[in-house]
């Protein structure tokens, strides 16, 4: 066979981690959660679901603790770091495609389903079922499911939320530069600002939902507009929440001095995630609220 290779960063130095029980624990936790969710939907019994969620949270805690400990102990080398980076990027790409499915549904509903239902192209649905339907957007369909509703104007709270998320992108970048220059105080301050802005966004979004439900009669069940509006903003809000929690963890770790100016993959991964969530919001602001 081939002979030894004496480069310190070669694949031969690749760190193959020791065995771990987290993957199997994770599979069981996911199964309990998913099976519990089915139970909930079928019989209204939610206990198994919540047990599952607890297990999943425990899983995240335990698995990440092990990884962080290994990282702090210096077990990971550059090659492993590269793997983590690539892995995170492809994971974000998969998230992009998940949102793409919902943006695609929005596009299809507005530009294809609406014209057809209102009598363009193949006319069956219009002539046979809903002759008076004229389409347009926002719409809850020819049967006006959920009744009359109003929408949230783009240049009110959503515009404020846009500013908040964009600002949080800036504060995060400032924090990153501070980390690279080893200015700990600025790093921790701006990290804290970032996740506070994130949580503020989530809070404002929830007041927006409350207004939609209680004052505008805009609900998840308000036809296709309600479906696309709440599913898109809802999944985004979930991602912001997760991202803000991750930023908080990064902040706590940063206070403990976990990151060095050259070596801080955890920080960067969360930063990429945050920017991704930011970009999705811009798409939402333009296509869901504005246009």
């Amino acid at each position: 066979m081939a002979h030894a290779h004496h480069d310190h960063d070669s694949a031969g130095k690749y760190y193959v981690p020791h065995a771990s029980h987290w993957p199997i624990v994770g599979s069981i936790a996911l199964f309990i959660t998913m099976f519990g969710a089915s139970q909930w939907l079928n019989n209204g019994i939610s206990s198994m679901f919540w047990v599952g969620i607890l297990c999943v949270l425990g899983l995240f805690f335990g698995w990440f603790r092990d990884v962080i400990n290994e990282s702090v102990a210096g077990t990971y080398n550059q090659a492993v770091d590269r793997s983590f980076r690539m892995g995170m990027m492809w994971f974000i790409f998969s998230e992009v495609m998940f949102f793409a499915a919902f943006f695609g549904a929005l596009y299809y509903a507005r530009n294809i389903a609406q014209p057809w239902l209102s009598g363009q192209g193949v006319k069956f649905a219009n002539t046979l079922l809903w002759q008076n339907f004229t389409g347009g957007w926002p719409s809850n369909g020819p049967a006006k499911l959920g009744g009359e509703f109003e929408v949230i104007p783009a240049f009110s709270l959503p515009a404020v939320n846009t500013m908040i998320l964009l600002t949080s992108g800036v504060t995060l970048t400032i924090a990153h530069h501070a980390l690279k220059e080893n200015k700990r105080g600025i790093l921790n301050l701006f990290l804290a600002l970032t996740f506070l802005l994130g949580f503020l966004f989530v809070y404002l979004q929830s007041t927006e939902y409350a207004e939609a439900y209680h004052e505008l009669n805009l609900k998840l069940s308000s036809g296709i507009y309600g479906s696309t509006f709440f599913m898109l903003t809802g999944f985004h809000g979930l991602h912001v929440t997760i991202g803000a929690i991750m930023l908080t963890v990064i902040w706590l770790r940063s206070m403990k001095g976990h990151f060095s100016s050259e070596n801080h993959f955890g920080f960067e991964a969360v930063a990429w995630y945050w920017h991704f969530v930011d970009v999705v919001w811009l798409g939402l602001f333009i296509f869901v609220y504005w246009l």
């Binding site: 694949a11 690749y14 981690p17 599979s27 080398n77 919902f102 069940s221 036809g223």
Partner: protein
């Protein structure tokens, strides 16, 4: 990196040098070979489970009239058979092969993210456990077809959320598996292994992994919309609320067509390894093969609506999807010609893997041709939802994807186990499989052209003869697979010792043949140098 240099050197090795003892070796696995074996065994179990369901389907269709299953059960058998074969048998088999072979073929010590690797495997038994549990719940298991079209699928009983969540779990598993493959290939190749020196199996898997990450989330989105339509009052697929059931088909097939290439590109890779070995010639047109694979992957994103010609698309849509679909025949043709040219003037020998690869070449091509027929939009109005479509996709999937998996198993089994399998029994398995797969599926072309609809438990008596033939072929094909199982088990347990090259007189190329047989528990702890 200077500060952590000292750590680097001491952490370079592994904490554990051999396999762990007992059950921990499998439950806590991080070794790509252990995980690969688990994937392959799981896939075999699913292949037999899905196969059993197919036997029930063929038993029902043996004669006209309903005798074995009630119509609802019949429909849930076709649905479950497809879901299990696609997500439980074919995809995990290829991921198992990827796990075993990619690190060996690129000269890496393991997969890049070993724990996530184990996670992606262990999700699967739970996902399929949940899917199979639906057989027992009120309302029975899903019966609206594996394509899950609304509004029909929304009539599923308690099984509905379980099936949706099972699909979510399978998707998560596939995405993690795919990330691992990409990262391993991009980050862990041995020095000198440039991209255009990689074996084709590695190349095809790289592109497959990209497809997986691009489309599995879309499927997750589609089934999520089904779930909210069913339980939370959304109107994605409800025209009364401004949605459209046809929109589901668009989203599903945006996933679905790349998905069929996810199931065939690694098969192309396998065949591109085996044919050169047993022709004793390098692969003809290596670069063209790589580019053809990439173009197929690209095109697979813009052909999806060929599954929807009869949904009332505007004429431009029909034309676009018809022509884009036909374009795929070009890179596919490049591949078929290159495999053929590889054999040209080669000194060919016919061991079991080669036999299966040759069978693949002929029978997959038949499936490709029937695909071309289906791609002709006006003709598809006649063929759509008939047994002709069933014949088409079974030709590409059984003697296509599944035969390539069998070929790969015979080809690399000696490397995995250190023993030769029983060649006589392998050949018998091959001949019986090849004969009966045709007896099983060829008549379905006639049935379809004559108008027999798919997914219906009963049929008009004019279809009786060919259905009888097809069912007999089905039972025999099913029984034949027991030879495969027996051969694998006895090869794992013992047999003639395999040499390191395994196929000595064919002198196969590739790094996997430079390590001992069976491959050592940790391969390439020191990266080999590739010239």
């Amino acid at each position: 990196m200077s500060a952590s240099h000292t750590h680097d050197t001491h952490a370079a090795g592994h904490d554990d040098h051999g396999p762990m003892k007992g059950w921990r070796r499998w439950f806590y696995a991080t070794n790509h070979k252990d995980i690969g074996s688990m994937y392959l065994i799981f896939s075999l179990v699913m292949f037999l489970t899905g196969g059993l369901m197919a036997m029930f389907i063929r038993a029902e269709l043996l004669y006209p009239g309903t005798q074995v299953l009630d119509p609802g059960t019949f429909n849930s058998m076709t649905t479950m058979h497809a879901l299990i074969m696609v997500f439980g048998a074919v995809m995990p088999a290829f991921t198992g092969l990827a796990n075993w072979m990619i690190p060996l073929q690129v000269g890496a010590p393991d997969m890049a993210l070993p724990r996530m690797n184990n996670f992606s495997f262990w999700i699967l038994p739970f996902a399929f456990g949940m899917l199979l549990l639906t057989l027992l719940v009120p309302g029975g298991s899903p019966a609206g077809g594996w394509t899950l079209y609304p509004p029909l699928v929304l009539q599923t009983g308690d099984a509905f959320p379980m099936a949706v969540f099972a699909v979510h779990l399978m998707g998560a598993s596939s995405i993690m598996g795919a990330i691992n493959v990409i990262v391993t290939i991009m980050n862990m190749r041995a020095p000198g292994m440039t991209l255009l020196k990689m074996p084709l199996f590695v190349w095809t898997w790289l592109i497959t992994a990209y497809l997986l990450i691009a489309v599995m989330p879309v499927l997750a989105g589609a089934v999520t919309m089904l779930l909210t339509d069913h339980y939370f009052g959304t109107s994605f697929f409800n025209a009364a609320g401004g949605g459209d059931p046809v929109m589901f088909q668009h989203i599903f097939w945006f996933f679905g067509h790349p998905e069929v290439y996810i199931m065939i590109l690694p098969a192309f890779g396998v065949v591109s390894e085996i044919i050169p070995t047993f022709s004793r010639k390098p692969l003809f047109g290596y670069d063209a093969m790589v580019y053809a694979t990439a173009s197929i992957a690209f095109l697979s994103f813009i052909v999806w609506a060929h599954h929807m010609f009869t949904t009332g698309m505007p004429l431009v849509g029909e034309m676009f999807f018809m022509l884009s679909t036909m374009l795929i025949a070009i890179p596919t043709g490049v591949k078929v010609f290159n495999w053929t040219a590889t054999m040209w003037k080669g000194s060919i020998s016919f061991e079991t893997p080669m036999l299966f690869a040759l069978s693949f070449l002929f029978l997959f091509t038949i499936g490709g041709f029937s695909g071309l027929m289906l791609a002709i939009a006006p003709a598809d109005f006649q063929y759509h939802d008939t047994y002709f479509v069933v014949a088409h996709f079974h030709y590409v999937l059984v003697p296509g994807a599944v035969f390539s998996i069998m070929a790969a198993t015979y080809y690399w089994l000696p490397k995995w186990t250190g023993h030769m399998y029983n060649e006589k029994m392998g050949k018998l398995h091959f001949w019986l499989s090849t004969i009966f797969v045709n007896v099983l599926f060829f008549p379905q072309h006639f049935l379809g052209l004559a108008g027999m609809p798919r997914r219906i438990p009963d049929y008009s008596t004019q279809f009786a003869d060919w259905n009888f033939v097809s069912s007999i072929g089905g039972f025999c094909f099913g029984l034949t697979q027991l030879l495969f199982v027996y051969n694998i088990i006895s090869c794992v347990r013992g047999g003639v010792k395999a040499s390191d090259k395994v196929w000595d007189d064919a002198s196969p190329q590739g790094l996997e043949w430079t390590v001992s047989s069976p491959a050592p528990y940790h391969s390439f702890e020191v990266p080999p140098e590739v010239k």
